[in-house]
């Protein structure tokens, strides 16, 4: 005779699955926004004087251009940065979700 599971048992035994696409989209939007806002924040803050006496805007964030070709600390750069951030966030989130679901499937033999 099969024992009927109680609500508590059902909840305790349930394992969550992640929606890889949604997780990717969320991480993509978040990362894209972080780069977009960070870039524009530096633009609003204005330039700072370097050791050599030059006025430069966001020298450290500018380093992102090593990976994000075409990116610079400017408004147009912030849009390019958003797109790069969105792409990387989406790929990473989807990958995390996909891997997580695969591991859960293996661990719980579903």
């Amino acid at each position: 005779m099969t024992k009927t599971r109680s609500d508590e048992e059902k909840l305790l035994q349930a394992v969550a699955f992640l929606n890889a696409k949604v997780l990717g989209l969320i991480l993509g939007i978040l990362l894209g926004l972080v780069i977009f806002i960070a870039t524009n924040w530096l633009l609003i803050k204005g330039p700072q004087v370097s050791e050599s006496g030059r006025q430069i805007v966001g020298p450290h964030l500018q380093l992102l251009s090593q990976f994000f070709i075409g990116y610079k600390v400017s408004f147009s750069g912030s849009i390019i940065g958003f797109l790069y951030g969105f792409a990387i966030g989406t790929i990473s989130g989807s990958l995390i979700g996909w891997l997580y679901n695969r591991i859960v499937n293996i661990r719980h033999r579903l």
């Binding site: 009927t4 394992v15 699955f17 090593q66 990473s92 679901n101 661990r107």
Partner: protein, 626 residues
């Protein structure tokens, strides 16, 4: 079409014998008459209605216990309205608890409860509740521990112990915790979470609360009026209701019931039928079978116990005694369990509006001291107890009457479930016998539940295939009866929320909202998330390093190299890419695990809080179900 008409003709020749003219028996007869089938109803007593009868004493009417008419089962509600028409009154509910000379509104109202208990007592209740949450009784195996763990020991002592012991005649320390847990089964965790997430529209919520707690329907002349009308209807439809008919022998053979010997007015009558529906107590049913059932079955039947009940009705020469429909008496100084004020149920229950008729209810066992007391002594006891409580001046009591009701409540002791299962198993061989009602199934059913079992029994006679034992016991089964359009599946589900204790554990439906709620609150697999976050972050550092190496230049990746302040040994090189992968995997793993752990912890806390809050809110109407 031909087979349908053949089946209809086949049914027309059926003669159904129904034992018991209580709500279940008469509902069955009524439903059969609507289908054009003849039935014979055998009632041991001289009146119809069973425990839902209304007794008439010198024009003063009183119930055997108060019978509120409220149900969430549409077909039952429809039948009530169909029968009662304009005589079906909507009444406001007012009930209180009497404890140590103080009245507490029930369901509880906080200001009134705090005022009645006093500040000191209220503080002690809160402290006792906190203590019960921090240090609950373990193991939680008895009723007192179960209630104390949920509401605190002090509230248990004030509002549950005395009344429960009066009703059931067993010390709370000897009542199984399972008994109480079954009561709370209507309080589903998933339902509580759903309510917490999806707020009901106020209008709808108000309506539900109003329907179930603050008001109810009631026949103008008491529940007996309903069953007298049903009895009249079925007899006018060529069926019979035979009163004072004591079932003597039930003859069985070849896998069915053949006939019944009934003692009517000192003579044995032989009643034959093609189908039999019994609402008589299972214990008696087994004793009346011929040939005798196996010893094991007879022994099981003897194990079934009942709680009996007597009402002392007093006619008071006073227009208004108290405004309540009924009062729960928790006061240990008196033996009575409840007082009904029938004029407040319906003004027509008394012939003279200047007077009042009170029903003082005593729970007892057949043959015990209360049961065997003379009517005169019982009336004197009632008079004395009313004076102790200061409710009525004894000089205002004009007259009184006593009604004893044996087998009012089936007792759920530690052996009853096994006994019922043995009997069910044995009786299942008789394909033309169905058990319905409260005592007929030894289930603590309300009137609407008993009626529903009878309705389904009739559907079975007409060719249906319903398991009556699963009604109000197995909600998954309720989902299966979708085929029958006249009884909505929600009827079964909703019913369980308004019923008293039923022994079988209830499972929530797996589909729809419940499944969504489970998936929302399901735990995240910590290891799986840790591995996946670790792998992705490790991969990201690896790819970033490799990209810089491929890009080349005089100094390769000076900025990414800064990572070696945290990742000792890391460099922008092939070897460094693997070292970075390892470090990043480790940190990603830790982050993922911690994230899942904290998310599960906080979700668990939320679920726990919702559960506790729902449990605590059940305190509001807990006593109604004892």
């Amino acid at each position: 079409m031909e087979s349908e008409s053949a089946s209809l003709n086949n049914n027309k020749h059926k003669k159904v014998v129904i034992i018991g003219a209580g709500p279940a028996g008469l509902t069955a007869a009524y439903e059969l008459s609507k289908e054009g089938l003849r039935s014979v109803v055998l009632e041991k007593d001289s009146v119809v209605g069973g425990i839902s009868r209304t007794v008439n004493y010198k024009g003063y009417r009183f119930d055997i216990g108060g019978h509120r008419f409220f149900t969430k089962v549409r077909v039952v509600e429809d039948m009530w309205e169909e029968i009662m028409g304009d005589d079906f009154l909507e009444r406001k509910r007012l009930s209180r608890i009497y404890y140590k000379n103080t009245f507490f509104y029930y369901p509880f109202r906080l200001p009134n409860a705090l005022w009645g208990l006093g500040i000191g007592n209220s503080i002690m209740i809160v402290l006792s509740y906190i203590k019960s949450q921090l240090f609950p009784f373990k193991p939680e195996d008895t009723f007192d521990k179960w209630v104390s763990n949920r509401f605190g020991k002090r509230l248990y002592g004030l509002f549950f112990k005395t009344y429960t012991e009066k009703v059931w005649g067993i010390p709370c320390e000897e009542i199984s915790a399972e008994w109480a847990a079954q009561r709370i089964k209507g309080l589903s965790l998933l339902e509580a979470l759903k309510n917490a997430l999806i707020q009901e529209r106020p209008s709808n919520k108000d309506r539900v609360v109003k329907t179930l707690i603050d008001s109810f329907h009631y026949p103008r002349l008491g529940p007996g009026m309903m069953w007298e009308k049903v009895s009249d209807t079925v007899t006018s439809e060529n069926s019979e209701v035979i009163l004072n008919a004591d079932v003597e022998i039930i003859y069985t053979g070849s896998g069915k019931v053949d006939k019944i010997d009934v003692l009517v007015e000192g003579k044995i009558q032989e009643i034959e039928g093609s189908e039999f529906i019994s609402s008589m107590p299972i214990r008696e049913l087994i004793q009346k079978l011929e040939p005798k059932p196996p010893k094991e079955v007879s022994h099981a039947a003897d194990m079934l116990k009942y709680r009996d009940f007597l009402t002392v009705s007093l006619i008071i020469n006073k227009k208004d005694v108290f405004p309540d429909n009924w009062i729960y008496i928790h006061d240990p100084r008196v033996k009575m369990g409840r007082i009904q004020n029938f004029k407040n149920w319906s003004p027509d229950m008394v012939p003279d509006q200047e007077k009042t008729c009170l029903g003082l209810e005593y729970f007892c066992f057949e043959g015990d001291g209360l049961w065997t007391m003379s009517d005169r002594d019982l009336i004197n006891l009632a008079r004395k107890e009313l004076e102790i409580m200061g409710l009525v001046d004894a000089r205002e009591i004009e007259d009184g009457s006593v009604v004893r009701m044996p087998k009012a409540y089936p007792v759920y002791d530690s052996t009853y479930l096994d006994a019922v299962n043995i009997i069910r198993d044995f009786l299942s061989q008789f394909r033309n016998l169905q058990l319905v009602g409260r005592n007929g199934m030894h289930k603590y059913n309300n009137q609407d539940h008993s009626m529903l079992t009878a309705m389904l029994a009739v559907k079975n006679i007409l060719g249906g295939n319903y398991d009556l034992w699963k009604v109000n016991a197995d909600q998954e089964y309720h989902e299966e009866v979708l085929g029958d359009k006249s009884i909505e599946p929600k009827d079964y589900k909703e019913l369980s929320k308004t019923q008293p204790l039923v022994p079988v554990a209830v499972a929530q439906g797996e589909g729809g909202v419940e499944q969504t709620i489970i998936s929302v609150f399901a735990g995240i697999d910590k290891l799986a998330l840790a591995l996946s976050v670790g792998a992705v972050s490790g991969g990201a550092i690896f790819i970033a390093t490799i990209l810089l190496i491929l890009k080349g230049g005089s100094v390769v990746g000076p900025n990414l190299l800064l990572l070696n302040q945290y990742f000792i040994g890391y460099s922008v090189s092939i070897e460094g890419a693997f070292i970075g992968l390892g470090y990043s995997f480790l940190w990603g793993f830790i982050f993922g695990w911690l994230f899942a752990y904290l998310r599960n912890l906080l979700t668990g806390f939320y679920v726990y809080r919702v559960k506790k809050s729902a449990e605590l809110s059940s305190f509001r109407d807990f006593i109604d179900y004892i």
